[in-house]
């Protein structure tokens, strides 16, 4: 038998290499995280994991973005709650937020040693400085900035 390929349609899929909130809580620390990885069957359950703010899948986009992935990245909180960076940024910009995680109401900061966070550190820090409520003194500004970036 002879086969002749007339056309090939390559199909790729991806998902964020991120633990679900519950799994992350149980997981031991110090594991290597990759930026993105190929899709595995075992990850399909994780597809149901949603951003706690916009309730769209981690692998989808925040309401203002069109393309998922690098255009609309995720961040992992120190408290193991994950969000689209645009969603958490918009929340932290509000006065009601008081810098707290929407899920557990602990002060929100980025988890260290997580690859996808590293790309966002500078950007979020800058955005946060711009968005400081004007009523705060310089001291408080510094504290908030440092707490957000380094923990």
């Amino acid at each position: 038998m002879q086969l002749e390929f007339t056309r090939v349609y390559p199909v790729f899929s991806w998902s964020w290499d991120i633990r679900g909130d519950d799994q992350a809580a149980k997981e031991n620390e110090g594991q290597e995280h990759q930026h993105q990885h190929q899709h595995h069957k075992e990850d399909q359950q994780e597809e149901e994991e949603l951003c706690g703010i916009c309730r769209v899948s981690y692998n989808g986009t925040c309401p203002s973005c069109k393309f998922p992935g690098d255009d609309c990245p995720l961040v992992v909180g120190e408290c193991n709650h994950n969000f689209h960076v645009h969603c958490i940024q918009q929340w932290l910009d509000t006065a009601t937020a008081k810098g707290l995680c929407p899920m557990c109401r602990q002060p929100f900061s980025l988890k260290r040693g997580v690859a996808i966070n590293e790309c966002q550190m500078d950007r979020l820090a800058k955005l946060l400085i711009q968005s400081q409520p004007s009523g705060l003194s310089d001291d408080q500004d510094m504290m908030m900035e440092q707490e957000f970036v380094v923990r």
Binding site: V56, P63, W91
Partner: protein
Amino acid sequence: MASLPKRIIKETERLVSDPVPGITAIPHEDNLRYFEVTIEGPEQSPYENGVFGLELFLPDDYPMEAPKVRFLTKIYHPNIDRLGRICLDVLKTNWSPALQIRTVLLSVQALLASPNPNDPLANDVAEDWLQHEDAAIAKAREWTKLYATRQ
């Protein structure tokens, strides 16, 4: 007006397909951010057997900003004033985008089950509640019968 965010569509669908017991929330045809709400008075509260009408509006900034909720049915309650405005932390300072329409309405229902005269909105009602609790509860029952009986 911008198109309806996916989160609001999802929440609305779930309110219809999987309603909270004792609570209905139906979006208005002309404005999908405006909901007509009914809450049944909790058992063993002065509001038992009553059905209370409320309006709920999702502001443009929802879920960064809390929904606006107001009683339309007259009610005798220390934390609800004559205009139907509700004194409830999650509607103001303790709002979080992790909350949603159904959780907010559950909180309102819980407020009916446990009036808190020490954090009053309707001062005269709260005073009455603190000084003559039995009489205040009787009045709340009477108002429930008068204004919140299902037609």
